[in-house]
């Protein structure tokens, strides 16, 4: 563990990871209870990435996300009540119920949206990064995308453009080993997506995406590099999603073995992080439990908010199409 990282930051990262985990576990349950309609792509297992990156960012830094976007929004400061309301399709949701899970967003937090289109994020992040440069700010734009998305033409075009213009854009590939039900080996002939970076003229870095501190450090380096005008980095984080591509089944899936799931669960980003923090005397097991409980309460409050919120009125269907 790095000496540069402060205890406060470690605790901040921990808090963000726990917030994601408990939100997602609960959202999954609510989906199973039939309360959340549509498709739910859970982030559980990948929390170290969102937390390790986002702890560097302010609301003036932008991110784009993927279909698996709740974790990114939570780590960026998203509030449970408005988020659950959105997943429920309620008028009080961040998108007034018009976006749902796949389009959840909050521009005030600099979160430019989950995206239902695989590879939808990178070009938009490039635009946001351009905007930062155009307005001579020293912020950054980070796009999160999957291993599967790295095969979309949109990623390629965005990466090339960001490198060419030396934009403050960080490409964070969350390589969880699968695009839907297709293992990485069946969708690309490479092991490290980061190997694509030299082809654009940008640094490519591989980190353990289950280790929030490793992510924190690599992201910090990439962000510094970007802020100083040196351009983008492709940061690949090796990770795993505990549940199915969509929904909450984790075990007994035909396209992966339970042993594989078990092996990755041993590297759990929160469990191991808490062990380390406890060992270092930064966060006791008791204190950790208290945090979980507090977050759990917030989740319940968020759900209560969502459940008591009204559905949007049908008369508002054609609102919000134009400014």
């Amino acid at each position: 563990m790095s000496t540069q990282i402060t205890d406060a930051t470690l605790l901040d990262i921990h808090q963000r990871m726990v917030r994601i985990r408990i939100f997602e576990e609960t959202a999954g349950k609510m989906m199973e209870d039939g309360k959340i309609p549509g498709a739910l792509h859970l982030y559980v297992g990948q929390e170290a990435i969102a937390a390790g990156v986002m702890v560097h960012l302010s609301n003036e830094d932008y991110i784009t996300s993927s279909h698996r976007g709740h974790g990114h929004l939570i780590a960026k400061g998203g509030e449970y009540d408005r988020m659950f309301a959105e997943l429920y399709g309620k008028a009080t949701g961040y998108c007034k119920g018009k976006g749902g899970s796949m389009h959840i967003s909050n521009l005030e937090l600099g979160m430019l949206g989950a995206n239902g289109i695989v590879g939808g994020g990178p070009p938009i992040a490039v635009g946001a990064a351009f905007s930062i440069k155009f307005k001579q700010k020293d912020n950054v734009a980070v796009c999160f995308f999957g291993d599967g998305a790295s095969n979309e033409g949109s990623f390629h075009e965005a990466a090339n453009m960001a490198a060419l213009f030396k934009l403050p854009c960080i490409f964070v590939c969350e390589n969880n080993g699968y695009g839907e039900y297709t293992p990485q080996a069946n969708h690309q002939a490479i092991v490290d997506v980061a190997d694509r970076a030299p082809g654009y003229g940008m640094p490519g870095v591989v980190v353990d995406g289950m280790d929030a501190v490793a992510v924190y450090e690599a992201a910090g380096e990439a962000i510094r590099f970007a802020r100083q005008g040196s351009g983008p980095t492709l940061l690949e984080c090796k990770t795993y999603r505990y549940y199915d591509h969509v929904g909450v089944r984790g075990m007994g899936l035909s396209y992966r073995t339970d042993e594989e799931v078990e092996r990755w669960r041993q590297k759990d980003p929160i469990m191991n992080f808490e062990a380390r923090l406890a060992e270092q005397g930064i966060l006791s097991a008791d204190a950790a439990r208290t945090i979980h409980e507090q977050v759990e309460q917030e989740v319940q409050a968020g759900i209560a908010f969502a459940e008591s919120s009204p559905m949007p009125d049908p008369s508002t269907i054609t609102d919000d199409v134009y400014a």
């Binding site: 309609p37 549509g38 498709a39 399709g89 309620k90 998108c95 119920g97 018009k98 976006g99 749902g100 899970s101 796949m102 389009h103 995206n115 239902g116 289109i117 695989v118 590879g119 939808g120 599967g148 998305a149 095969n151 979309e152 033409g153 949109s154 695009g179 839907e180 039900y181 297709t182 069946n186 969708h187 690309q188 035909s254 396209y255 559905m311 949007p312 009125d313 049908p314 508002t316 269907i317 054609t318 919000d320 199409v321």
Partner: protein
């Protein structure tokens, strides 16, 4: 209209799709299926399930998430002698491969002076109703019906799904088969044998005397429901399912309107700029003197598809909206 149905079984639409693709792979040695998660997973809605085991990985295989290359694979393989079946998971993803569809697939034969043949069948899934929001619920047939070089079919029933897929695959032109996700569970008779529904022939799904409803895809089911309500109002609706949008069976529609003197078009797509405009324009062109009232159109309102079930329920056209539109037109 009444095709021979030697051994009718009841199958859901989703299984009829599988059956159609199976028939194609069986009868056409140069056919293969390519797309995202079609083989290992059998497709996100499961309609390729079992085919990998039956036909092996040379005949059905998963691709990277690369829609432009997937369609390009179809174009290049077709022009060199294969008969590809290309899966585009959701029709909304056409934006990712529209160049391949519009500029290569549709135009190659013409640009080459007729010296290329492109027997590509593309299956894709359209329609709203599952709270999948703005990027997974669209009906974009208007884009592709406007493209010379393509054929476009839209199966409504399980019977149609199998028969139109087989017809598409037997056709030597690119044919886009627009499936509907809310229809997957609808059941109906599906013969075991391979059979083709002629491309370009509309289906009169309900005969009627004084009102023509042209309904696209899943809207046929809604139109049938509406017809029951309308009956009580003295309206005996004739319901036409074009089944093929391109080439469009104008004759069948015109003959009906000449008999009924009134028409309504209904599609799931956004009403403004939708394919209903073309149908309307054709009817008034060719049956102007027979019309007793303006041709009505029912489609989605002018907005992206909303996520919330509370909104989506009012967004997607249905029997109630058809009835309301007819009533308004007739000032009932």
């Amino acid at each position: 209209m009444a095709e021979a149905q030697p051994q009718p079984r009841e199958l859901p639409y989703v299984a009829a799709i599988t059956d159609g693709v199976r028939a194609v792979l069986t009868e056409q040695p140069d056919a293969f299926v390519a797309g995202e998660d079609v083989a290992g997973a059998g497709g996100v809605y499961g309609y390729y399930r079992g085919l990998l085991k039956e036909f092996g990985p040379n005949r059905i295989f998963d691709t990277p998430i690369s829609e432009e290359a997937i369609v390009g694979l179809g174009v290049g393989a077709a022009v060199t002698g294969c008969r590809p079946i290309i899966d585009l998971m959701f029709m909304d993803f056409m934006g990712e491969c529209m160049d391949e569809i519009a500029n290569q697939l549709a135009k190659m034969r013409y640009m080459f002076g007729g010296r290329a043949t492109l027997p590509v069948t593309m299956l894709t899934m359209a329609g709203a109703g599952m709270s999948l929001a703005a990027q997974h619920s669209q009906s974009l047939e208007a884009w592709i019906c406007h493209l010379p070089g393509l054929k476009v079919v839209m199966p409504t029933t399980p019977y149609d799904a199998k028969g139109l897929i087989i017809a598409a695959a037997r056709d030597d032109n690119p044919v886009i088969v627009i499936l509907n996700k809310m229809s997957l569970a609808i059941t109906g008779p599906v013969p075991e044998e391979s059979y083709a529904i002629p491309i370009g022939e509309a289906n009169i799904v309900r005969e009627g005397t004084n009102y023509t409803i042209v309904a696209l895809g899943r809207m046929v089911h809604e139109a049938l429901k509406a017809a029951e309500v309308l009956k009580d109002l003295g309206i005996d609706a004739e319901i036409i399912d074009p089944r093929t949008l391109q080439p469009f069976d104008t004759d069948t529609v015109i003959a009906s309107v000449k008999k009924t003197h009134r028409a309504l078009i209904v599609h799931e797509a956004v009403r403004f700029g939708g394919f209903g405009g073309e149908i309307t324009a054709q009817i008034q062109e060719l049956a102007f003197d027979y019309l007793d009232a303006p041709i009505a159109r029912v489609g989605a309102p002018f907005s992206p598809v909303p996520f919330s079930p509370a909104l989506e329920a009012h967004y997607v056209p249905n029997a109630d909206r058809i009835v309301a539109e007819v009533k308004q037109q007739l000032a009932l």
